[in-house]
Subunit: 359 residues, 3 copies
């Protein structure tokens, strides 16, 4: 076995505060743009099978028991106690929590308390901009408040995240000029109703570049296309500025994300959601990322959202995959034992501590 | 071993009716735009090696015997008897036969009789349009006959297939308007000689959208590029219309095809030709598709065309790959035994029966 | 074990003539656009670990010893003796040396002598054009000298290589017309200072097409994007002209490169740098390329540049990967033993001997 220190989960979200029925639970296992197809269920996915493997034993049931039985036991314990048992079994010592997703989710302090761990906040840029828009009367106020808010948020957060930025950056990696930004803000604000999401590519780029100026690491959701096409030019444009970029959600372009992490000193690759989504294949996914990513440029995360079961699965799959992949290389003589332990520590915790300045 | 029911081969073609020489046989092992390079042979491919592994024993020879010896034995038995022996050894219980490829091939009833199986027809949209063009005098007649023919064909077929549609849909996923269609039809018919293939992107899109209106499942050859770029927007445009899309021939973008099958309730992914083309690597390919495709969204096929050897290889590689991949996950505790058997049944047969409404 | 004949390294470069400090050595392990990130080192990569695995024993040290200790031993032996020991342990019998990269590197005869092997030259087209530009006064002289020089170089070389060609060919695969070429040459020469690199896409295409006319095999660096997008149309445009194309550096698009090698009789795929860069994963990479590439269309190389350690690692990883992948397929009955030995010989040496007309 490969030993790891307590994990730093460098990108996750809170868990739902309410009791869950089978349908809501199932919905959090899918990642699609709709419900499961007629005659199918999201439990019949690698994520569903991984949850059924790892979580029932933590609540006193046998692995792979039926979903209905698991949900009944979860309700019997109550959402708080079930969450406590699950989170404390993850081996995660530090959660970096992106608070910018909707839903009645626990915030960082609550997640820390439930998991007997530490937690820090990652600020989602788009949500920040939407909140600023809700309270700003004019274009000038909006833009001034936006800059101030991003810089203010930087003081209390460990990182920024942008989910839509890659879309805008693919079209034009450089910062938009002041006139463009004013025009875009005027158009967006004029047509906007409270609660509308920010999707204007010029404003997304503007936001990302304000965040770059803050110096805090920036997590970029690279979408589902080749990150080289989406953020390659942006990586080139931000080289040497002193701000690190962390590419999230690369699968099935994770090898390309790993390539970028090797090509640019300030680019890092995230590991997590690819493992949770591919379940029994997690070891292969980890191995594929380890082909090209320098070992100091790779960061563990669970990407978990809503269900503490997903934090469990993210952490378990990661540790098991590390053991199989690195342990296998040690066994065949390709890596030394001490190198394998050292690299495991970097990916599990050390790289994140260095990049985010954690104690 | 993982047990499977008789397979539903959800996308294949007929077999050649004539005796074959070495050169014609070899040509059916390649997939390229030309003959083998000087000094090379298409037998030196994964497909060639897989045929030499699985087929000689079915005709009484040792595995991996030389191609010339195999062909001699095949001729000795005669094309009918050799085909009968091969097809009956596949374990395929139902063939869905795309009849829209050229060549002197057996049709569905003949394939069913030779293989002691059932067979149903898949209608190739482009061929249908070309046949309509051959017999229609004016643009108006052509377009009226086309709509009528597609709807008529829907009554006797289990699905439609489009090989060129993805090309047109990549440019514009929505249905072309009536004026565009009339203009395109006029230009195509004016320059057309009998036998010319339909490649006009506007007519291809028009055809695909007529087929969508029929409600029958539509098989889309996604080409060799990223299916997300080619059919992602079309999948979004057809969501909720009640017509299922089945993505064919995804390799080497099979992980992206699996992603789309997870993202859209009405999108399915095909498995077959990737296995036949990659031979000894089939288990890995199956495992890669199983990373992201929900288990209810994946369909076996052989993609075989011309040689019954390819039906044999498609089925054997699939069953062996299922046994290794699912059996491996059961052995390491990642999946339960009963889940593995159930998922094997879905991919081998159950999903296809549900999608195509087979008894 | 799978036996291989002495290898033909179909694409490598010379080794540095000077003693190396730790920093210079480390820089040659990275492939990025900058130094290692703060707190990281290029030794913490698959390439770094592979060098530490295979090379210390060749200089009398234990595998995986610390970099500083290895470098000290290397300096103790001297750069000439260390290079001799390393190169003679590669099992490479023939080096094809691309001489078009900058640096104080050994040329083909020197590399041959150090390695007790043969060596032949591959001429880099861009460097040739830059040298012609340095000594040509007018556009007319430049273009005339260019054509003459390429044809002259063909007499003494085994192949041409283009590193920038794919960029230009992606935009337009056909040869530029004479007016375009003259205009581009005029603009480039007017703004050029001695030593400037050739990056003008029209001139790059012009160069590539002159090389195609020579009939010598042309090695194309396909960049880091999908080679089908970059060189697919160029492959179609050059089909049947009698000049072979060898695609280099496909990873992570090596499956797409293998696809092109199967689709076009005159297209070949290179194997090497993908193995050196992915180290402990080399067997998987080899297996992935062997999915679709016909076995007569795949060529070994190390891609090594600057450090003889990279020639060692390229050759060792290749032989080990062959043994594991082909040996594994023999063990499970998928391939016959004699087929495996024959294919190993083709990839190690036979294909390159045929393509480059080596004795």
């Amino acid at each position: 076995m490969i030993e790891t220190p307590p994990l730093v989960d460098q990108c996750c979200h809170g868990v739902l505060r309410t009791e869950l029925g089978l349908g809501t639970f199932e919905a959090h296992l899918g990642r699609g743009e709709g419900p499961p197809a007629p005659g199918t269920t999201f439990f019949d996915t690698q994520t569903g099978f991984a949850v059924r493997r790892w979580c029932p034993p933590l609540l006193g049931l046998e692995p792979h028991c039926q979903p209905a039985r698991y949900l009944a036991r979860r309700r019997e314990l109550g959402v708080v106690e079930a969450g406590r048992r699950l989170l404390r079994a993850t081996g995660i010592g530090t959660y970096l929590v992106d608070t910018g997703v909707p839903g009645d989710l626990t915030g960082p302090p609550e997640l820390a308390a439930a998991g007997a761990a530490e937690a820090h906040e990652i600020v989602r840029l788009e949500l920040l901009a939407e909140q600023v828009a809700d309270t700003s009367g004019t274009v000038e106020t909006f833009l001034a408040n936006l800059a101030e808010c991003v810089h203010g948020a930087a003081a209390g957060a460990v990182a920024f995240a942008s989910v839509g930025g890659a879309h805008g950056l693919a079209l034009a990696p450089e910062p938009p000029d002041a006139g463009e930004v004013r025009g875009a803000a005027a158009r967006w604000l004029a047509g906007r109703r409270v609660g509308d999401r920010l999707t204007h590519p010029v404003l997304l780029r503007h936001l990302v570049w304000i965040a770059v100026a803050s110096g805090l690491p920036l997590q970029l959701h690279a979408g589902t296309g080749d990150p080289q096409r989406y953020v390659g030019e942006f990586a080139r444009a931000t080289a040497g500025l002193g701000t690190d970029l962390v590419l999230l959600h690369g699968y099935p372009y994770h090898r390309q994300a790993a390539y970028l992490a090797g090509a640019f000193p300030h680019v890092y690759a995230d590991l997590g959601p690819a493992l949770v989504r591919t379940g029994a294949r997690a070891a292969t996914l980890l191995a594929e990322v380890l082909e090209l990513a320098p070992f100091g440029k790779l960061l563990f995360s669970s990407g978990a959202h809503g269900l503490p079961e997903l934090h469990v699965v993210g952490a378990q799959l990661f540790r098991e995959a590390l053991g199989r992949v690195l342990g296998g290389w040690v066994a065949e003589g390709a890596w030394s034992r001490s190198d394998a332990d050292r690299v495991a520590g970097l990916i599990a915790s050390g790289n994140a501590r260095r990049v985010y300045g954690l104690p």
